[in-house]
Structure formats: C-alpha cells, structure tokens
C-alpha cells in the first residue's frame, strides 16, 4: 500500500496550452496498492489535469514523441522511463519540443 505522494508537475515549451496555460501544478497523488510510477502518473494526468486534445500529449501509454520528460532535472531515459518509481517531493517536467522554432 503506497502512501499518498506530493509531486510537482510542470509543463513547458507549449505543452501548457493543453492545461489551460498553467505551467506548475502541485499535485497530491492518492495512496494506492501499487507504487506510483510515470506510467500511472500519465494516466492520472490524463484523467485529472488534461483539459483538451489528449492525443497531443499522450500516445498509447507513453507521451507523444517530441515531448521530453525530466524528473528532478534529469532525463527520464537515465531513470527507466515509464518504470521510474516516483518519490515524495519529486518534480516531473514535460517539455514539448514541437512548438515554435
């Protein structure tokens, strides 16, 4: 049984346009059976934060290609991508590289 987690979710590079323009969200993930990982975080975001056009942010069970994910200012590829287990006070940043030039 995982305890509730408090994480900061941030959006940049144009991704915030899908979230009403709000860049930083301090969220509290409820306690649940399995530990929280990025995969389940994405599901949670899609259900609770994403205001419109989910296909522009999420593709399948991962993010759309072109969206970078940083956990505590480090590339998620170094941490196991979707399988990285979130810890309390983590900061997850989604940067869209597709917008602008």
């Amino acid at each position: 049984m995982a305890a509730p987690l408090s994480v900061e979710v941030e959006f940049g590079g144009g991704a915030e346009l899908l979230f009403d323009g709000v860049k930083k969200h301090q969220v509290t993930l409820p306690g649940q059976e399995e530990p929280w990982d990025i995969r389940s975080l994405l599901v949670w975001i899609k259900k609770n934060l994403l205001k419109e056009r989910p296909e522009l942010f999420i593709q399948g069970d991962s993010v759309r290609p072109g969206i970078l994910v940083l956990v505590n200012d480090a590339d998620w590829e170094l941490l196991g991508e979707l399988d990285y287990q979130l810890q309390d006070q983590d900061s997850v940043l989604f940067i869209s590289t597709l917008h602008g030039g």
């Binding site: 590079g13 200012d73 480090a74 170094l78 602008g100 030039g101």
Partner: protein, 505 residues
C-alpha cells in the same frame, strides 16, 4: 555439431535485457566522473558541464568550419521566440562576450516578426506578447527590430529581385580578413571593445506603434482565403522570409541567421519533397542559402537536435517566449508539415538514427546548376532558379505549362487577333502563346513565373487579389519584360533571315 549449437544457445542469457540501473550507478561518458543528466544520440549520457561544453562546441564548430561569416560583418539573427532561435541568440551573446582569442567576431542584430494577425490572435494578446518580447530583446543588448507581418503590404517589389554580389572570398581571403581584424583590435586596444558594446546598447530600432487596422484586416483576409493549412504555412514562411530580407537590406546586414535545428531540418527536407520542392533541397536545408544574392541565410543550429536545445534551454535558463502558431493544436493530418513531423518523430522514437541519417543526406546535396541554365529566371516567390524546361513538354511540368493558356476564357480585346496565329504554333513555342493570351490575366501571369512547388501552393489560393501588392506588381513587370524581350527577339530573327537571303543573292 547440433549439440554444440544447443550449448551455445543455453549460454546466451535469456529474456529481456536488464532494466536500466538507477542514476547513481551511471557516469558521464565523457569525463567519467560527473553525474549524468541527459542522454544524447543513442545512449550517451552526459553530465551538465560536459553537455554544455559539447553544445557550445557544436555551435562554434559549425560557424568555424564553414568560414562564411567574416569578422566585423553585420549579421541579423531571426528570432521567433521559440526554443531553437532563443538558444541561437543566447549562444551568440555568450560567444561575443568571451575572451578575445576565441570571441565571435561579427556584429549582430535581432529581428522579431509579429505574426499574430496571421494566427488570429487578439490585439490584447499581441500587445502582451510584444511587451514580453521587448523585455527579452533588451536583455540581449543587441540592436533589435520588431516588425509586424502586416508590413508586407508596404514592401517594395525590389525585395523579390536577386541582387548580385561579388563571390565570397577564398580560404586565403578569409584568413587575411581575420588577421587584419585581429591586428586592428590589438591596435585599438580597450577602446575598440568599448566602442563596439556602446554601439550595441545605444540605438535599438523601436517599432513605430501597432500596425494599421486596415492592414491587419487585409492580412487576415489573405490567410482566411487560403484553403488548406499546408498552403497557409508555406505562404506564411514566404512572407516572413521577404520581410526579414527587407529588414536586412535596409539596415545593411549581409547575413541572416535562422535557428533551424537538426530535427526541424530533417522534417523540412521530407516535407519539401512532398511539396514538390525537391529541386531546391540544397538551398532549403543546407548551411547557407544564397538565393537572394546580397543577403545570405545561414543555419548555425543545424546540428543540434530539438532534445538538446530543450535541455540546454531548461538547464541554463535561456528565456524563450511561446506564442501560438498557425498549427497549434491542429490534428495530425491537418497539413503535410504536421503529418511529416509526426512521421519522422515516431520513426525516430523506434529508430534513433533516423534524424541524423536524414541530416547526413542533406549535407551531401550539392548546389550544382543545371546544364545550360546557369542564370535562368527565378521563381517569383521563393527566388530559386526555375526548374523549367520549355523543350520538354512530355513531363508533367511541361504539360502543366502548355495547358495553362487553354484554361483561359477567350479574351475579347485587341490582343485577341494575334491569339489564333500563336496558338497554331503552340506545340513548338508554348512560351509565345502564353505571353499573348495571358497578358490580360493576372493569375496566369503570376503562375507562369513560379516554380512547381509554389504553383502547387498557389492552387489553394482561389484568388490572387488579396496578395500584397508588391508580388502582383513584380509579376506584371516581369511579364511585360518577357513580352517585350520576345518581340525584340522575333524582330532580330527576321532581320538575320533577310541578311542570309541578300548574302546568297
């Protein structure tokens, strides 16, 4: 033998590869001691400092190896507010402030094009964005220019003309220029440096207030009349290029730097192929683009992937401004550009060498002119040498060009009397026919001066009337000139025939 292969198979570990270890167990591949923060290419993890060094080195090496920018030259940085161009401006800023041995040696200015009208933004949003833009521009300390896209309606037709320039210096000339510049700097000492920085912060060119409502409406009308998003994006790019070129020519800039990244150029290459611009790939995606003659467009960011740019901007706090564009929130199949972007990025996710392969291919494209067409006519809009082959009417292009006069309704004017006699000779001289019948039709006038790619785009514009006046007037001028040239040529031919006859008799 069979037993041996069975043994071998058993010794190979089964199952999926081990899950990646935590960050604590990995080390930077370059310095072998720092904690890695970013993965570039396929599996190379770099720490923060090595990543910064690599990023800056790429930028300097790209400028250094091409040796196109001479010391003291005025260079205009085209800044859109987006991540790549912001990164480029920041690199130039840092590069200019280094110690004198490795300092960048050109004189930069920044231009920002306000495209809010084309994207349907409200005046309040535009004003808010402009305030943020000004703030960022002031921190750079470079002379800056803010132009609204509406100013295309007051551009002169000369912006569409190729201005010949003496060819760039040889290797020796570049070295000589650098040496003499360094000597000058040394002689001037501290004064020279101060004078340069004074010039930068002293006189920023301020824009003259918001554009007239009539022009904004005209621009909105133009973009609303375009039927497809693909044609809109191409039109926007064309107008933006003309505007930046005009600013560069006005203020004496001989180079323009754009922030096209590796990812964007790979997407652009594939998109250009789909749009029928395959003949001009070398100019559209190469490091330097000399199609305008006196102003050369340079792409120093072409080796940086969008991932590197985004990471650098985040880690080192490079300011950028996100503005809604034409294709913001558009679905995947809304335009060819979006479709190709989705295709390439999705392919890249599974085959991480896709973008670098496309990039290497684009590096190999050469700008050799076609035989016999060294100084041919140029496209009215994109200013590339026309890929027209009037003798080859069997191609799709040739069929299109000879088909054009037949589409026009019969024009009951003085010129019509000459029409039928020209039509009779259509098989051999489509050009003559066009100039006679189409003189009165502005649409045909414009279309025949465009390259294949631009013609395909213009098809999505039902009427050419909302286009800015400089395009239409230049088209008319060129068409008239072509007619006069044709008439003079005919006269000369008739003359030489007389001569041979008198010679024989």
């Amino acid at each position: 033998m069979c037993e041996m292969s069975e043994e071998y198979r058993e010794s190979v570990p089964k199952g999926l590869p081990q899950p990646r270890l935590g960050i604590e167990d990995q080390k930077c591949v370059k310095c072998k001691e720092g904690l890695p923060v970013v993965v570039i290419r396929a599996g190379d993890a770099f720490c923060r400092d090595c990543f910064k060094a690599l990023y800056i080195h790429k930028f300097r090496a790209m400028l250094g190896k091409n040796r196109l920018i001479f010391p003291g030259e005025k260079v205009l940085l085209a800044w859109s507010g987006g991540a790549s161009s912001s990164s480029m401006v920041w690199q130039v800023l840092e590069g200019l402030s280094r110690d004198s041995a490795k300092r960048l040696r050109f004189v930069p200015g920044v231009v920002y094009v306000d495209e809010g009208a084309a994207c349907g933004q409200s005046p309040e949003n535009r004003a808010k964005t402009l305030a943020e833009v000004k703030l960022v521009l002031q921190t750079t300390g470079f002379p800056w220019h803010i132009v609204a896209l509406e100013e295309v309606f007051s551009l002169p037709p000369s912006v569409l003309r190729f201005a010949a320039q003496e060819p760039a210096g040889t290797e020796g000339a570049y070295k000589a220029a650098v040496d003499s510049f360094l000597q000058q700097q040394h002689a001037l000492g501290a004064d020279g440096v101060e004078r340069q920085s004074q010039h930068c912060s002293q006189d920023p060119h301020s824009h003259t207030g918001p554009p007239a409502t009539a022009q904004t409406q005209a621009l909105s009308r133009l973009f609303d009349s375009v039927k497809t998003l693909t044609a809109k994006e191409e039109l926007l790019q064309t107008l933006r290029t003309h505007l930046i070129l005009h600013v560069a020519r006005n203020h004496g800039y001989s180079k323009v730097m754009t922030g096209d990244s590796c990812t964007r150029l790979a997407i652009k290459l594939m998109t250009s192929l789909a749009l029928g611009r395959g003949a001009f790939l070398a100019w559209d995606t190469g490091f330097s683009d000399e199609r305008h003659g006196d102003v050369v467009v340079v792409r120093p960011m072409r080796e940086h992937t969008l991932k590197e740019v985004a990471f650098y901007n985040h880690l080192f706090a490079v300011p950028s401004i996100c503005t809604p564009a034409l294709d913001t929130k558009a679905p995947e199949k809304a335009s060819i550009h979006r479709l190709m972007e989705a295709f390439i990025l999705r392919l890249q996710a599974q085959f991480p060498s896709t973008i670098s392969t496309v990039y290497r291919t684009s590096e190999k494209l050469i700008k050799a002119p076609r035989d016999g067409c060294a100084a041919g006519p140029r496209c009215l809009l994109c200013m590339c040498t026309l890929d027209v082959d009037t003798a080859d009417s069997a191609t799709a292009f040739g069929a299109q060009t000879s088909h054009l006069p037949q589409m026009q309704p019969p024009v009951a004017q003085a010129g019509a009397a000459a029409g039928p006699c020209c039509c009779a000779g259509m098989g051999g001289a489509p050009r003559c026919c066009r100039s006679c019948l189409c003189r009165e039709d502005p649409r045909a006038q414009v279309m025949e001066q465009l390259c294949y790619g631009c013609r395909v785009n213009m098809k999505d514009l039902p009427s050419l009337e909302p286009l800015p006046p400089y395009i239409l007037s230049e088209a008319q001028l060129r068409s008239q000139r072509a007619t006069v040239e044709q008439e003079v040529r005919e006269y000369l031919l008739g003359d030489s025939e007389d001569e041979t006859r008198t010679g024989e008799s």
